[in-house]
């Protein structure tokens, strides 16, 4: 360990750090307060931040994990494009994933902040907009095959020039999006957040002067770097690789897509290397490099014990590698609108590698992240409707506890939409929203229970699009825990017309059709035969495990609402003998 670092003026430093984080948080609150759209308000699919005049990240407010580290990439692209022609009163924006963006719905807005003619900072916001044009409403389709199908590409541009709006750009945006009122309102929210940041940051600069402010910024970045390196230094050294598979890209059906990562950790540095991952695919699930960085940073943060302010200093201690032309670092003309799926699955993959580094800290595979369901079409009176639902919510078992059930994924923290609001506003009825029995991976600690959700179409006809995964690769179990269960899509369950559907598809449906979506069951942790029989009994009482499942998955015999101890001991002994030692560290297949 290094000696205790020194900060020139520790009191002034802490006040400065607090003030910057407060500004970035206030920007985020401004967006939740002023936005119209559910994507921003409920799903919180946005981030706010503060960068210095050179584009280095110095403070981040609310951070959607998927946006970690994306701002410097985007801002660098904007600074490279405009250089010294950036003047006071300008507002810069972009969304093009091939010029600093992440995917087209994410619009970056930057406001340079000047003090006496000197550029001292940038206020930065990213918001996921409800629609940015393209071939499918919501601009989210998984089955586009080129970026050109996905909507309006905005390269680094000036939204305002010296305080004057760029009317041409505004007109272009209005003309190319399906819901211009909503998009404009959300852009206004982004601008409002930047204005608030500017006013408050200039008060700080007035207090400390430009040189004093810069010195404090340097200290803040160094401080985060020290914290990060100290936390990384506490992790074991070594190299760990892990492989996982995405079912397919929804275009080349049934063709699995490989994710492969290697973490190399030495002293106070760590590297996440995605070499070995699949070449880029035709479907719209390719990542920008910045999105691969975000997934890598998020996974690493999950294994660090310290709470570290997110800034340039955090990134300095972490290297991310991803070869060009792969799903982890796409090249033109790859499509990327639905790359969220790849991000979620990269978290599963990265945590798999990190589980070998920190067996005490990392959970088994989750349900694989959220499933996207879009139902769109026209009502009887020719009004368009678009219903978009993102749903997920079961964590893998942890080395000390069962996985969570009914909880957002670690990579997104999205809220669900109310069933009653959905039914009041869309020609859709939800018939079921309930945990499933015997679907969580068994273990000393079991995975969280996944849920099933049934959607009935009430419109005469509609287009149904689903983006799901984990239908042919089970969430892995850890250290003896069982693998979880497949996700499933079923059309018209319990009727003569019942049939299974693939994980990703677009199809026409008619009134009365029912889609049942069942989330994948997450993996378990530790030997299921060691789970205390009383804990299994509790799960049976709560309907998470059936009586048959208790015997099959845990070797626990339950009779008349109690554990039959003798029969359980016998059943467990027989199972242990037939099985041999519990597999470790990973279980990917169902027990035979």
């Amino acid at each position: 360990m290094t000696a205790r670092p020194t900060i020139a003026d520790p009191i002034a430093f802490e006040l400065f750090k607090n003030a910057l984080i407060a500004i970035a948080d206030e920007m985020a609150l401004t967006i939740t307060r002023t936005t119209y759209s559910g994507v921003l308000k409920d799903n919180m699919d946005f981030s706010t931040a503060f960068c210095d005049g050179d584009g280095r990240l110095i403070a981040q407010g609310l951070t959607l994990p998927g946006h970690l580290g994306s701002l410097p990439t985007a801002l660098r692209a904007a600074i490279e494009r405009f250089g010294d022609s950036i003047v006071d009163g300008d507002v810069l924006c972009l969304n093009d994933p091939y010029a600093g963006g992440m995917h087209l719905p994410d619009l970056f807005v930057f406001k340079p902040i000047f003090h006496e003619g000197v550029r001292v900072a940038f206020a930065a916001t990213i918001c996921h907009h409800t629609d940015v044009g393209g071939r499918v409403a919501g601009s989210n389709a998984a089955d586009s095959t080129e970026i050109y199908q996905e909507g309006l590409r905005i390269p680094p541009s000036k939204l305002f020039r010296a305080g004057q709006p760029n009317d041409t750009l505004f007109d272009m945006i209005r003309a190319n999006v399906r819901l211009p009122v909503l998009v404009e309102a959300d852009m206004r929210a982004q601008l409002a957040a930047c204005h608030i940041a500017e006013r408050q940051f200039l008060e700080i600069v007035a207090d400390h002067g430009v040189a004093g402010t810069r010195a404090l910024i340097d200290e803040l970045i160094d401080y985060s770097e020290r914290l990060t390196r100290s936390a990384i230094g506490g992790l074991p050294d070594g190299e760990w690789s892990f492989e996982d598979w995405i079912d397919d890209d929804g275009v080349d059906l049934g063709k699995p897509i490989r994710l492969f990562v290697t973490f190399r950790k030495a002293d106070d540095r760590i590297e996440a290397d995605w070499t070995g991952s699949n070449p880029q695919v035709r479907g719209a699930i390719n990542n920008t490099f910045s999105y691969t960085q975000a997934a890598s940073y998020c996974a690493i943060r999950c294994v660090l014990d310290e709470d570290i302010p997110t800034n340039e200093g955090f990134f300095r201690a972490i290297d991310v590698v991803a070869p060009k032309g792969t799903i982890a670092n796409m090249e033109l003309p790859a499509a990327c609108a639905a790359r969220g799926l790849t991000g979620f699955r990269m978290i599963d993959c990265a945590l798999g590698a990190l589980a070998m580094m920190r067996p005490d800290k990392v959970m088994a595979a989750s349900d694989g992240g959220n499933t996207g369901i879009s139902i769109g079409g026209w009502t009887a009176d020719r009004k368009p409707f678009v219903y978009v639902d993102f749903t997920c919510g079961a964590w893998g078992a942890r080395p000390w506890a069962d996985g969570l059930e009914g909880n957002a994924n670690i990579f997104s923290n999205m809220a669900s939409q109310s069933v009653e609001i959905t039914e009041a506003e869309h020609p859709v009825e939800i018939l079921r929203y309930e945990f499933l029995t015997d679907r969580a991976g068994a273990g000393l600690y079991r995975g969280g229970a996944p849920f099933g959700r049934d959607y009935r179409i009430k419109a005469t006809t509609a287009s149904l699009q689903v983006r799901a995964d984990r239908a042919s690769f089970r969430p892995y179990g850890l250290y003896g825990g069982a693998a979880g269960h497949f996700a499933r899509n079923i059309l018209n369950p319990g009727t003569a017309g019942e049939r299974p559907l693939s994980p990703k598809f677009t199809m026409d449906v008619v009134a009365g059709d029912v889609l049942r979506h069942e989330l994948a069951g997450p993996g378990g942790w530790g030997d299921p035969l060691e789970r205390p029989p009383e804990a299994v009994l509790e799960d049976v009482r709560d309907g998470f495990v059936s009586i048959a499942g208790a015997l099959r998955d845990y070797g626990v015999v339950i009779l008349a609402d109690s554990v039959d101890a003798a029969a359980t001991a016998a059943a467990r002994a027989a199972k242990a003998k037939a099985r041999g030692p519990a597999p470790t560290p990973f279980t990917r297949e169902a027990a035979s």
Binding site: I11, A22, R301, F451
Partner: protein
């Protein structure tokens, strides 16, 4: 024959505060230890002592107003009732799935709060009502009866019923209520449309379950309290403070205890509001700082700002309002309070990156600050105040404890000052500045983050540590005046004396305003008003003393959140445009913009509130004479630029004449600090100290 003394009683975890206010404004206060096994006992016994000390008898008490933590404690400690929940088939897990949202990021160790009803006690029955209120699957009465019988067999104390879309048509829930009355007369029963007839199934279900969870406990508590008072010969009516800042009679609280969950902190805000008005301060920020937390609320034009949802029973401290899900959702009217984990007991420490941090860990009451000499080894904010000379080493005037200055200095030196290369007093002074910056977040949360500028408001500082930090807080926020009320440590009890009876009603009625039937809206609004009037009449308020107001929650179609707008007068065709316009104005105020007139405005929920206007309590003239006498001087440190200054120690009464800081006012339960350049003066009518920047 009823008496003329009002009594306010506020229960905390450690102390029960009792305040008596006579018709002439005479004030008597008493602090007694809380009786954790039976909170009612401390009230009854403490009241008996307080009356005796004040030379009064049971017959002198006209009414008792009570801020009770019994409901929130039951949730925090998970000692509530065994509740069963019956829902719609296919939706067994609404309560547990919640909104999926978690309050922390990147934390694999995050645990959700366990649902208040375990899955085995959550049953469903076939029934279905659609979004328009039409019955699409009739309620299966046989299955319903079987579900009730099953839960009774499981030994539940209470049954909650929450059906999907019941807000649009409560007929199935009402059938369940009848069935439960028949089959389970001994079990408390609540249907969601009686508790919260509003859209959003999770919030409605959770609110109903929380109501059931605390109902038997609150009912038993109030019964025991009344019996204890009766034994003392006190027949005066008891009312409870609600989270909204309005009072409700004990009987109503026993029926809908969900409204009294945040009863505790509300009293102080209402008191601040009442005491600020005669000072000509219509808009204030209340700042309540104790040993472990600091809370802030905003009063604008004499009305506390309200929130419409609480998260209860989770981690008490919410650092950021961006992240939710730490507790159980309760949709109820509540004063909009923000809280941060900073108080006198907050620990000062240095993180791995070399930065000074305050809290959120607190030394609490045990072991307490280092200077208490009770085994505490970590330096705290109270130790900093002692080092700086702000606190009296001989202890507070009314206090029984002396403070160990040498131990506080030694701990600060070893753990904070030396590692940072600072002098002990500069480290202590810096710790206070950082604590101020942390607490500013609570005030910013209820002002700037709500689109309100605090700078023209006065800061109303109370709680054991409020007046000690009041001026620094105000200065940091650009506020010009600080008000420190009498008996700041007991102020939450005192505030109860100024509250009024208040009830809130709401019903979801989703209609696009432009095409809504005005008669339907008028009818629905009137029925809510009638409900309010009937309740107030039953409580003995004459029609002239009833104030019933209308409001509505609206949004632009497509938005996911509503804004509430007040409305007065009957609702007719012309009023539709008026209401839409009022919404547009409010939207522009809150969001900074409004949509064009063509943008459809959607009505979501109609609301009414009923207030019972009683005779207002007189202003308190003086506290009892146990207050400190003041006197003497002590060196106090005011930062590296000013250094140590000999500082006079005053009593509140010494401020009858304006004094210029620095000075320190020592009292029975709190210390008020005025740094150099700040003037202070006692305001004779309210007995409050006002601090201002001194004119030079």
């Amino acid at each position: 024959m009823s008496g003329q003394w009002r009594v306010g009683v506020d229960i905390g975890g450690t102390f029960t505060d009792i305040v008596l206010l006579g018709p002439d404004g005479r004030l008597a206060v008493r602090k007694v230890s809380s009786s954790v096994d039976d909170y009612a006992r401390a009230i009854v016994e403490g009241l008996e002592i307080a009356l005796r000390e004040a030379g009064l008898t049971a017959a002198d008490v006209s009414e008792i107003r009570h801020g009770a933590t019994v409901a929130s404690n039951a949730i925090l400690e998970r000692r509530g009732a065994k509740v069963g929940l019956i829902g719609t088939e296919g939706f067994r897990d609404i309560l547990e799935i919640r909104t999926l949202r978690m309050p922390r990021l990147y934390d694999l160790a995050w645990e959700k709060p366990k649902p208040l009803v375990p899955r085995r006690l959550r049953l469903t029955v076939p029934e279905r009502i659609d979004a328009t209120g039409a019955v699409t699957t009739p309620l299966d009465l046989a299955a319903a009866a079987a579900a009730i019988d099953h839960l009774v067999g499981e030994g539940v104390d209470a049954i909650a019923v929450a059906f999907l879309n019941a807000y649009a048509n409560p007929v199935h829930e009402q059938a369940m209520a009848r069935l439960m009355a028949e089959r389970a007369p001994g079990v408390a029963a609540c249907i969601s449309t009686d508790v919260l007839p509003e859209i959003r199934e999770y919030e409605r279900t959770s609110t109903t379950v929380v109501n059931c969870y605390v109902l038997p406990i609150v009912a038993a508590y109030l019964k025991s309290l009344k019996a204890g008072l009766r034994d003392q010969g006190i027949a005066a009516p008891v009312s409870l403070m609600q989270s909204s800042g309005g009072l409700t009679p004990a009987d109503a609280a026993a029926r809908l205890p969900v409204h009294i969950i945040e009863s505790g902190p509300a009293g102080g805000v209402v008191g601040a509001q009442a005491l600020a008005a005669p000072l000509g301060e219509a808009s204030i920020v209340s700042f309540d700082m104790g040993g472990t937390t600091a809370k802030a609320a905003l009063v604008i034009d004499g009305r506390a700002e309200r929130a419409d949802e609480l998260q209860v029973g989770g981690e008490a401290i919410q650092a950021s309002r961006l992240l939710t899900g730490q507790g159980y959702s309760v949709k109820t009217r509540a004063i909009d309070l923000a809280e941060v984990g900073a108080g006198g007991g907050s620990i000062v420490w240095i993180d791995a990156g070399g930065a000074m941090q305050i809290g959120p860990k607190s030394a609490g009451a045990s072991p307490g600050p280092v200077s208490y000499g009770m085994g505490g080894t970590e330096p705290t904010i109270t130790d900093a105040n002692l080092i700086l000379g702000y606190l009296n080493p001989a202890g507070l005037a009314g206090g029984e404890r002396t403070l160990d200055l040498a131990a506080a200095r030694a701990a600060f030196k070893a753990k904070v000052a030396d590692p940072l290369g600072l002098s002990v007093e500069d480290a202590a002074f810096g710790a206070r500045r950082i604590a101020v910056a942390n607490m500013m977040r609570a005030i910013r949360a209820v002002t700037v983050e709500r689109g309100r500028d605090p700078r023209s408001a006065a800061l109303f500082a109370f709680g054991g540590n409020g007046p000690m930090f009041g001026w620094d807080m105000a200065a940091a926020l650009g506020m010009q005046r600080v008000i420190a009320p009498p008996a700041p440590g007991l102020f939450s009890a005192f505030g109860l004396l100024y509250a009024e009876v208040e009830h809130h009603y709401g019903r979801t009625l989703r209609r696009v305003l432009a095409s809504a039937d005005p008669e339907e809206i008028e009818r629905a609004w009137r029925s809510l008003e009638d409900e309010g009037s009937a309740q107030l009449t039953a409580e003995g308020f004459k029609p002239a003393d009833q104030e019933v107001r209308r409001s509505a929650s609206l949004r632009y179609k497509g938005q996911t959140h509503e804004l509430e707008v007040d409305w007065s007068g009957a609702f007719d065709l012309a009023a539709r445009d008026g209401l839409a316009e009022a919404f547009g104005v409010e939207h522009a105020r809150v969001y900074g913009h409004r949509a064009g007139l063509a943008e459809p405005v959607e009505l979501i929920t109609l609301r009414a509130s009923g207030r019972g206007l009683g005779e207002r309590a007189p202003l308190a003239k003086s506290t009892d004479r146990k207050a400190a006498a003041g006197g003497g001087w002590r060196p106090a440190y005011f930062g590296p630029e000013t250094g140590w200054l000999e500082t006079p120690i005053l009593a509140r009464s010494d401020l009858a004449e304006q004094r210029i800081g620095p000075f320190i006012v020592e009292e029975y339960d709190a210390t008020c600090l005025a740094p150099p350049g700040v003037s202070g003066q006692l305001e004779p009518v309210t007995n409050a100290i006002t601090l201002r920047r001194a004119k030079v």
